[in-house]
């Protein structure tokens, strides 16, 4: 079956613009996570969904960042008024949830803010 997919694979945007990053999790996975990875660093947690609701958004750096998962499947990470410091690879992961802790990651979206 298909793995986690993310679109676009690359996004270049100007400072101050709005961007949306999309994640398609593995079918049937109820848990979905967003992480951000800077060069030479490990992934940094942003937000976690169980079903449609954000169970933990404590990793979002500020209120310019927002994520939704309206139907409990596809998720969109939204960044307003982008800043150069937002440049990173944004990773999405999904898992079966309910005590299954293994996470399956997508290839990531490389965001560059110029």
């Amino acid at each position: 079956g298909a793995g986690v997919s993310q679109t676009p694979s690359n996004k270049v945007t100007e400072k101050g613009k709005y961007v949306e990053l999309r994640c398609d999790p593995i079918s049937g996975h109820t848990a979905l996570y967003w992480y951000r990875q800077s060069l030479g660093q490990g992934p940094e947690f942003l937000i976690y969904f169980q079903g449609t609701g954000a169970a933990d958004d404590s990793g979002l750096p500020n209120d310019r960042f927002f994520a939704v998962r309206p139907e409990g499947s596809v998720s969109t990470l939204k960044i307003q008024r982008t800043e150069r410091g937002d440049s990173a690879v944004y990773l999405c992961a999904s898992s079966l949830g309910q005590g299954n802790y293994e996470q399956y990651f997508g290839p990531g979206t490389r965001l560059t803010v110029t």
Partner: protein, 115 residues
């Protein structure tokens, strides 16, 4: 605040040898610890999970140990091959009694296995 350290940024070994990677953490012990492999331009891939009440886990050529007294996990790859060259990440989950699975990652160790 919690700190996760992976031994060195890079480890170079000869094919056939055993690679040993270290993950140390401070303060609180995790409920469980995972190891992931990451290749350039790709997302991490799950390898092994070990719980706080387990000492050792094995899967094929991989072995993970977990010492909550030392606050350390060791990740071993035996009979290493050039195809094992990648960055290896340790990830900790501190949430007990929940299914959140929020992970805290180390920076990773880049392993190179040369023929």
């Amino acid at each position: 605040s919690q700190k996760i350290e992976q031994n060195s940024e890079a480890l170079n070994i000869q094919e056939g040898k055993t690679a040993t990677l270290t993950c140390n953490y401070t303060n609180y012990s995790p409920a469980y610890l995972q190891w992931y492999r990451q290749d350039p331009g790709r997302g991490p891939v799950f390898l092994l999970l070990i719980r706080e009440n387990e000492k050792e886990k094995r899967k094929e050529r991989l072995k993970v140990t977990f010492d909550t007294t030392l606050k350390q996990s060791l990740f071993h790859i035996t009979a290493s091959q050039p195809a094992d060259s990648a960055t290896y990440l340790c990830a900790l989950d501190f949430d007990r009694g929940s299914t959140l699975g929020r992970l805290y990652f180390g920076r990773g160790t880049q392993l190179t296995v040369w023929p």
